[in-house]
Amino acid sequence: MPQISGCPHCAAPVEGDEGTFCCSGCELAYAVLSDAGLQGHYLEREVPGLRPLPPVRRDWSLVALTEHDGSCEAVLAVDGLTCASCVSVAEALLERQDGVQAAEVSFATGKARVRFDPTAITLDDHARTLARVGYTLRPVAAEPTVDHDPLVRLGIALFCAANVMGLSIPIYLGWLEGMDLRFERLFAWGSLLLATPATLVAAAPFFRSAWHGLTARTLHMDLPLALAIGGLYVHGIYATLAHSEAYFDSLTMLIALLLVGRALEARGQRNAASAADLLGSALPGVVTRVEALGDAVVPTSDLRVGDRVRMTGGDTVPGDGIIDQGEGRASLALVTGESVPVPAIPGTQLPAGAELLDGDIVLRVREMGAGTLIGQMQAALTQTSTSRNPTQADRLAPAFTAATILLGLAALALTPWIGSAEAMRRAVAVWVVACPCALSLARPLAVSAALSGLARRGLWLRSGDALLALNDVRTVALDKTGTLTEAQARVVSAEDEALRIAAALEVGSSHPIARAIVSEAVGRGIPLPRAAEIEEVRGQGVRGSVDGRLWEVRSAGVDAVRVVSDDLEHLIRLAHVPRASAGPALQELQTTGIDLRILTGDRAEAASRLAEQLNIPASAVHAELSPLEKVDLVDAHTAFVGDGLNDGPALAAAAVGLAVAHGAPSSIAAADGVVRAGALGVLTDALRTARRTQRTISANLVRSAAYNVLAVAAAMAGLVNPLVAAILMPISSLLVLATSAKLAKGDA
């Protein structure tokens, strides 16, 4: 009976004394960490390390390098960080390299910021350094530089508003009790001084977008706001000179609250964008081109129709093409959703985005870029996503403001009867009491509270529109593979002995099936023997010796693997298992009366088996669909949840498209939101939250409207004095705040 211990790096059980490694990758990782004096990591970490895999070639030319005298800085995504200790290990390893000045790794965003000397070390070197211990470095799209202007404007607006308020209170009190004229003048001019930066700097975006709208001959929703702000400011200057009420407190508070609302909405959008940003890109950055003088690694963008590309297991097809030589198996899961690998033999056509699972082939490219299947999907996707209409809520607040402005003008029109000074005073009173603070806050506050509540439970929505659009949803359609099921196949039946041998042979492979086998073996606690003489058998599997006997792992049919030696044979079956959250999530959705559908490109048989497991009527299942057929099955009352590249058009066409986190990047680009893979239950929650948000917004609009109608009527009749206006205005805003804050809480 051999002794059993845990691999010091990845903690998988292995046969042998304490300190025996499961594979040479882990042994090297351990050595690297020990050499660097980082053994402490093994004591601190909460989760065992990942088994190192061979580094994947990347196109680093996409990475934006910021230069600072002689050194440059790059931001890269790091995969495989499982705990805080990993962060310090990755940081230390990066920093220890020659030519690196500083490295900072963020656990929250999964990104590394490295400052290095580009003549001494390359990005590829960084990737190799981290790959040796199990972390993967990959390029991310250039980080958008943070725009500081909104925060600067908000700061100025709040400062001015607070101080104008401070100056206004004595004016109002003095108005009741009489005040020394000198101080009244001082406070009035002080208010004008403070209102000027608020209007000209902080409120500049409103003027700018209103102007752009006018030059484009459309009525932008900022136009009434710009009119109100501009009108109040001009009136204020006139009133200060003429010693009457300037209402600068209302003006500055209006600007500040509008900017607060915008900042809240922008923050929610940024969170959704960064949740979607961590996922890398769909096509390979570089390819191996077969040329007259031998193979050359070139960027995919240099590839032309007619070029021949050499590919090995794990590579992604760069353009639609046909196989010239070689054989293997390819997965079209990302492109068509078909989960079963197809044989790749000479004459087979492969679309861009397909992944060669194993084997070696030479592919002749027949179509690149926009002409490829993916390119057409991309086109269909941009077309559908631009044809969206703004929601009703977007139009309401400015319409209200426009009405207010018209009423103010109507008050001015009373001049012949009440005199110009009184008419002006009434018009401004109308504008002030009806100032759309509450209205402008009603939507952003309610929406951002609801969005942050949902984000905590696993659903990031890109905008408030997406949330409110959920109210029109009658049907929820879900993709099968990767959405309802896990993205990778799992072992469903196998003997321990078969797993032991197969896992020992496959432990160093990045093939999804190999990883499924190894993780099942580790999950069952099977000690892995050390395999020797491992070699890959082209297009078929792996061969090597275990316990002194020669074994071969071969693929067998659609979802099975055979483990063969001379006269012994074992079978390992794999399948896409439903996610744990899928069953309860669908049950819950059905109880809300929502119509459920499963749309998949997979075979009918696999789809109906899943429907059975999840307790969904077979009539709800639509199988063997092409990406464009999926689009036909979603409409303006459908929410679609999907993860694959092939789901992009359907995600864009649906009323609300939700991509599964860790799905294909293009599906995330097309979606209105991202749902955490394990959190499908949040869907019911989202529908309910959308309903409550809409109710809160409507109630607040009605409340503000009622308040405004009364106040405006009083103001037009000349009954409202500045003090009353200044007290009434914040009350309606506070009411909105109080009712909206409740939305952030869950169902409690």
Binding site: A84, F107, T109, V152, G155, N163, G166, L167
Partner: protein, 44 residues
């Protein structure tokens, strides 16, 4: 009462100084990432 003529502008100028501090902090990127720094303390 004349003190007010002096104190009010002084108070606003003081507030303005803090506004300038805030704007400098924004420009230096102090508010760029509000989510990560809280987790950094867990690291050493």
């Amino acid at each position: 009462m004349n003190a007010i003529a002096f104190l009010v502008p002084l108070a606003i100028a003081l507030g303005g100084t803090f506004l300038v501090f805030f704007l400098v902090a924004v420009r230096n990127g102090q508010f760029d990432d509000l989510d990560d720094p809280p987790t950094r303390i867990l690291r050493d």
